[in-house]
């Protein structure tokens, strides 16, 4: 699959998967179509059902109802060893009594490959994950990052229909994690391997995915590209979970052609551009991303406020600044460090944001 034009990967169709543990509904009516070669991330807080769904896909946990197909092949009643999936565990689960090469070759051995082909394939995979020369090491002799790459090579080796990654980056330190997530994405793209990635880390999801499935309390909240999820979160949960956000409690007010939000406690209405048709009723959250709040000269179409600087948090390239506006307790902005240098805590400055950056979302019940 690496040097071939055709990918071995399959499209995956998941239809109305349900799973309960006693009275707890872990997964409710999960339906998703994944294209061949696509990288899909299940994103959500712990307990949202993402790992349960992954285990059901792998066959390690039986679903209560629902159907899974790889291409035309129905696999949901097959045991894990008959599904042809590659699973990378959170702690990698490399076999400690086997060498790196034996670990990578395990899936091939189970499929009865000739030893010559097996060796060639293992070499190819180790080159892909840049571990040439470590074939005869034992897992315990490798660093965490190297172990992770062996686990990926082992899962890719036998050309699985689907690769599942269960939070494979969570055991790596921050610096390495940044590197490995780009590596992982490159490997996935060059192999054109249908992949499902499970994580609670929204940055990982935004960086790596073709599409993200945002999950909460066993339900799918939103499915979309990283840009869609970040720019137009469908729900309050999405607006809060993906990226940082200011959420202001407001009421919709239609004045002629223009729509605006009347924020509780704030005299001046905030003009909005478009309001999603999904919103019924007038109670909304008015959401503004911290990076969209400007300081100082603001053009005339924007909302403008006199604000007092309450707190500054230095982050290296950017600074988080908390503002207080009469009527609004706290509004957070994220500005380049060079710009934030000019103001200090206690100052009163003019801030504002463009009308396209104020987004209305329906509150959760």
């Amino acid at each position: 699959m690496l040097h071939r034009k055709e990918s071995h990967s399959q499209a995956v169709h998941i239809n109305r998967i349900r799973k309960t543990f006693g009275a707890f509904q872990a997964v409710q009516n999960f339906t998703l179509d994944i294209e061949a070669g696509e990288f899909v991330t299940f994103l959500g807080p712990s307990g949202c059902g993402k790992s349960t769904t992954l285990k059901i896909l792998a066959g390690l946990l039986p679903q209560d109802s629902g159907e899974i197909r790889f291409g035309d092949r129905r696999i949901d009643m097959l045991p894990p060893n008959k599904r042809n999936i590659g699973l990378v565990f959170q702690n990698y689960a490399l076999f400690p009594h086997m060498t790196v090469a034996e670990n990578v070759a395990f899936g091939l051995r189970m499929r009865g490959w000739a030893s010559k082909d097996k060796k060639a394939r293992v070499d190819q995979l180790l080159a892909l994950v840049r571990l040439e020369g470590l074939a005869n090491r034992r897992p315990e002799q490798l660093s965490g990052g190297q172990q992770q790459r062996v686990a990926v090579a082992r899962a890719l080796a036998f050309e699985p229909d689907l690769v599942l990654l269960d939070e494979p980056l969570s055991n790596l330190d921050a610096k390495l994690r940044e590197q490995v997530r780009l590596d992982l994405r490159d490997i996935q793209r060059s192999a054109r391997q249908t992949t499902v990635f499970v994580t609670h880390d929204q940055v990982e999801a935004l960086v790596m995915s073709d599409r993200i499935v945002l999950m909460n309390a066993g339900k799918v909240e939103q499915v979309g590209t990283p840009v869609e999820l970040y720019a137009t979160p469908a729900t309050e949960f999405g607006a809060r979970f993906v990226g940082a956000n200011n959420l202001l409690k407001a009421k919709l007010a239609a004045g002629g052609a223009a729509v605006s939000a009347t924020v509780d406690g704030l005299a001046q209405p905030i003009p909005l551009t478009t309001v999603s048709r999904q919103i019924g009723g007038t109670d909304i959250w008015c959401c503004i991303r911290p990076e969209h709040i400007r300081i100082g000269h603001v053009d005339s179409s924007s909302s403008k406020f006199e604000a007092r600087v309450v707190d500054k948090v230095y982050q290296g390239t950017t600074v988080l600044i908390d503002f207080e506006i009469p009527g609004i307790e706290r509004l957070r902005a994220e500005r380049p460090a060079s710009e934030a240098e000019r103001i200090s805590t206690g100052d009163t400055v003019q801030i504002g944001f463009e009308r396209t950056h104020a987004v209305a979302r329906q509150p959760a019940d």
Binding site: A58, G59, L60, P79, P80, N81, R83, N84, I85, G86, L87, F89, N91, A93, L94, F95, P96, H97, F106, G107, M110, R111, P139, E140, R154, F158
Partner: protein, 285 residues
């Protein structure tokens, strides 16, 4: 603070009077404990070279006469014991490993009750087991036979074996087996290629303990043994009761100690020291 001199840079730990006294006491405590543990063994070994329990330290008293005078019946009993102890150990583990796997991995209902039930033979006095087995064995013509002794030892070994293997499997994370499973291995292959190699070091230690236990089991076998099936422990006991401590009986006791030390050494060499000290039961990944 008075111990600190002006030109010292790094803090240096100095022994105070109390510190030295404490250390001395601790060493004495350990030495006493070791003496208490090893005294009987050393006494028997010394006695075996002198042919009597009244040990002297004069070199002229040492010799191999006691060993040379061990009668053939004793050697017979010795080999009988080795054969039954080894066979029972192997048999028990052959039964215990799949049973424990079913109990731990199969998530069998009532698994807790079961694993407590199998402990009972271990905690009931062997005397009671011996009498019970005898009443069953007599009509089956198993008393006073190799098979009878083997079955009795296996019953005892099985209890220990199950306890060991259950702990080993519980200590082994599911992920290894799940990984093998998703890579295409069926249950049996997974067990053969992953589970068994990973618990093998622990199994070797289990075998060591069971074998040692079998080597010296006495109460249980006292009832089942007879002229055709006489383990060395029973033979030693009856001879000492009938005729007092004979030189060759002490020599035979010495030989049992050598066997135990040899077996322990073999396992220690095969596994390496990290598995022996503190009995780390499962291999870490």
């Amino acid at each position: 603070m008075t111990a600190m001199s002006d030109n010292s840079i790094a803090p240096v730990r100095r022994w105070t009077g109390f510190g030295l006294l404490g250390k001395g006491l601790f060493i004495a405590y350990l030495a006493l404990m070791l003496a208490w543990l090893l005294f009987p063994i050393i006494l028997v070994l010394l006695a075996s070279f002198q042919g009597k329990l009244e040990v002297t330290l004069s070199a002229s008293d040492f010799g191999f006469e006691a060993y040379k005078s061990i009668p053939p019946a004793y050697w017979e009993a010795f080999w009988f014991t080795i054969r039954t102890a080894l066979s029972a150990t192997l048999l028990a583990l052959l039964v215990a490993v799949p049973a424990a796997w079913g109990m731990v991995r199969g998530k069998l209902k009532g698994h807790r009750l079961l694993s407590n039930l199998v402990l009972i033979p271990d905690v009931v006095p062997q005397l009671i087991l011996g009498i019970a087995l005898l009443t069953v064995f007599i009509p089956l013509h198993l008393a006073n036979s190799f098979a009878g002794v083997l079955l009795a030892l296996t019953a005892l070994s099985l209890s220990t074996g199950l306890r060991f293997t259950e702990a080993l499997l519980t200590g082994l994370p599911d992920e290894y087996e799940q990984a093998a499973n998703t890579l295409g291995a069926n249950r049996l292959t997974t067990f053969r290629l992953i589970t068994l190699p990973l618990i093998a070091p622990g199994l070797a230690i289990a075998a060591l303990f069971i074998f040692m236990q079998n080597l010296v089991t006495f109460e249980l076998l006292y009832f089942i043994a007879g002229p055709n099936a006489s383990p060395v422990s029973v033979r030693l006991f009856s001879d000492i009761v009938d005729r007092g401590v004979l030189p060759y009986a002490v020599a035979m006791a010495g030989i049992l100690i050598y066997v135990a030390i040899a077996f322990y050494t073999i396992v220690a060499i095969v596994l390496g020291p990290k598995y022996m000290a503190g009995s780390v039961m499962s291999r870490k990944g």
